[in-house]
Every structure is written in C-alpha cells, then in structure tokens.
Symmetry: C2
Subunit: 206 residues, 2 copies
DNA sequence: CGGGTGAGCGTGCGGTGTACGCTTTTCGGC
DNA sequence: GCCGAAAAGCGTACACCGCACGCTCACCCG
C-alpha cells in the first residue's frame, strides 16, 4: 500500500563492495555507501539494521559466486581441493574483503551451502559424522588462515623482505628461509599447504 | 638532560591488555588506556606513534610468554605439536586479543623467535629450505585459522546450534553434523586438525 | 480523490583517533 | 644553587564515525 522500495539488499551490497574495491576496507563507511548509491546516509537504515549486517551481505555477495556443485569424476581429495580453490579465487577477486570474509563467514548462506557440499564429499569418502565435522573445521581453519596469509602478509610482500634482512646470526634459519620464500607464488603456497592437509586426511581413519 | 620517562612500553601494553581483558576488544580505545594508566590521552603518543603500534605491543606481550625452546626428547612431529599448543594456550589466556594476534602476528618479535624454532625442528627433520618455508606457512595458516574458529566461532557456541536447527531437508549433512560437533571440546578439535597437518608433513617429501 | 503507511532525509549526539601548541618537570653545566 | 634546554605531559580542537529520532512527502488502496 505504501511507497515501494527503490533498492534491493543486493544494491546495497554491490555498492559497498564497489567502495571497498575502490577505497579499501578502511574507506567503507555508511556515508560512503550512501553517496555511492546517491541517497542520504540514514536511508541505508531502511534496508539494513546496522553496519555489521551490511558487511555480512557483502560477504554473501562475494561468496555467492562460488560454485558449490561437487567437482565430479575425480577422487575425493581432488574434489575437496577444487572446492577450496573456488573460494580462494572468489575472495581473491576482492582482496579488501578478506577481514570481513573471515569474521562473518559463519553467518553466510553461501558458506553453508559450500559446507554442505564439502560434508557430502567427506561422507562419500566414508568419513563418520564426527570425523566429517573435524575435517570440515580443519579445512575451514586452513582456508581462512591461508587467505589471511596471502592477502594480509603475502610471501612476496614487504613482511617477508623485512624478515630476509634480519641478522643471520640471530635468526640463522628465518632470514634465509624468507629470501627463499619470497619467490614462491601465492597459488603454489596455497596448494602446498592444502596438499598436506589432504594427505593427512587420506591417511586418517574414517 | 631532559625530563625522564615515567612509563615503559611494557606499561602501555599491560594497561591495554587489562582493558581488553575487562571490556573486550571493543572497549579498547586510546582514552580507555590512558585513564587505565592515570594519564591524559595525548600522553600516550609520547610512547607510541599510533593506535596500531599499541596493538602490536599488546600482541607481543601476549606472545612473549610462549616458550620457544624446542621440546626435547620427542619425535619432530610431537615437537611441532607442542610448539603450536603453546601458542594456543598463550592466546587462550586473553581471548579478546585474537583479532589483534591474527592481524599483527607477522610484526611480532615473539613470533619471529617462535618461527626460528619451528624452522629448526623442520631442518632437523630433514626438510629442504623451500619445504621448510612452505611447512611453516601452512602451520601458521592453520594456527591462525584455528584460533579464530575457536574464539570467534566456537564449536560449542551459538553459531553451531543455529546450524543444528537448520531444516534437515535443505542441509541434510550440515544440520546433523552441527549437533554432533557441538560436543567436541575445543582442545580436541585443535589437536585433530593439527594431527592431519602433521600426518601430511610426515608423508611429504623432505 | 482523500488517507494511511512506510520510504527517504536532516539534524544531532556520543564516540573515535590524533594534530597542534602550551605548560611543567627534570636535569647538566655554570 | 641556579638556569636554560629539552623532553614529558596535557588541553583543546577537528574530522570522522555509527546511528537515534522525528519529520516530510510519495505512493497505493479504497
């Protein structure tokens, strides 16, 4: 009966994501999103109860593009690897959202769908419910930690070069390791750690 | 010749940590730390360039208590597990600092020392420099992710119960897994994921 | 063609981090 | 024993933040 809404929650989320992609996460504010949409700041609150809810929708938007269909025709380890990689590439398209993705992932519908698929792969591989739960949590832990490693402390970044310039007598291994590690591509690092986990899963009791 | 300082960086860090332990991370502000110390807000800036530096010192303080001596008389896998567990317990004593620990860990002196020890264990186990680097990064990824899992989305928390109440026809595996997982102690979850990683390392080429 | 309902907005409040300049304290050298 | 330098410590002020509150006005239904 009353005046119809002119925006959808999707509009809000894409506007917020645009702001993040342009100005970084620090540039995200209710005022910035409002001007991005061409409306007044307080109008946002007709669509969203508070800033946190807006952040959650951004996370949902970023992860909504992840294909949650199980990769067919491969051993289950490769299926899991594929599922993890999909999340990695989706997040990599919007690196500024990494802190949001990490803190809000447990409230994201997309993550729920993805988790369901992962559990399905684990079930098909013969894991008991309890071991499925532990495996999923371990995979999530590695995934979020690796995303932070990659975007907040990249191996090819200044943190590593700072380590490489450490006095070798105080840190004989670390200083050398850092200069070695600075040449490892992020994708390879992600894959290497993931392979360790998957290898552990292969050997684990089901 | 000039007036001497009345506080040390340590004082600042402990005051900030006190505020966090009492009021949570959201309660941490320059004003709160200053009143905790009984000084004016702007006096803090004689000791610290900005808030971020203060946060880094809090992280250093929390992690300074971690024993970085390699646990002797055990196979290298158990040594690594012990080193990870030490970080876990140190952080668990101040759960409010988890987000800080995660974002500032790469600039912490304590973490550098710890990493040097981990690399030493890996070297003694025969890993090449490159594989040492990859293993360390994987362990760090799992560690930070697991800490976030444990403190920001605990298995025994409301997030899990919310998952358990999901419609079983939409999420047949996830809903059941959640109610199962709610009874897993955090320490066991941490250990289980870590064991997967260590098992993978055991089987990996050196 | 009125009336009710909610969309959209303007103002304002309490909070944040911190730039800037002033006052106060401490000391080594006379 | 005093004095001047230099840093410690502080007060004020600014720009920005999230958001509570109440108003106006556009829209749809009867």
């Amino acid at each position: 009966m009353p005046r119809p809404r002119s925006l959808t929650p999707q509009h809000l989320a894409t506007a917020a994501l645009t702001v993040i992609d342009r100005d970084g996460l620090a540039g995200l504010s209710m005022r910035a999103v409002a001007t991005e949409l061409g409306i007044a700041t307080m109008s946002l609150y007709r669509y969203v109860p508070d800033r946190e809810a807006l952040e959650r929708q951004v996370v949902d938007l970023v992860l909504a593009g992840v294909d949650t269909a199980p990769p067919a025709g491969q051993p289950w380890q490769r299926q899991l690897a594929g599922l993890l990689e999909r999340v990695r590439t989706a997040v990599a398209a919007h690196p500024g959202t990494v802190p949001l993705t990490v803190t809000h992932r447990h409230t994201s519908e997309a993550v729920r769908q993805w988790s369901e698929t992962v559990l399905g792969v684990l079930a098909a591989a013969g894991f008991t419910p309890r071991r499925r739960a532990l495996a999923l949590r371990a995979l999530l832990a590695y995934l979020t930690g690796a995303l932070q490693n990659e975007h907040l402390a990249p191996l090819a970044g200044e943190g590593t070069t700072a380590l490489a310039e450490l006095p070798p007598d105080a840190y004989p291994l670390l200083s050398g390791t850092a200069s070695e590690a600075a040449r490892v591509p992020a994708a390879e690092e992600f894959r290497a750690g993931l392979d360790l986990l998957l290898s552990g899963l292969s050997a684990a009791p089901r």
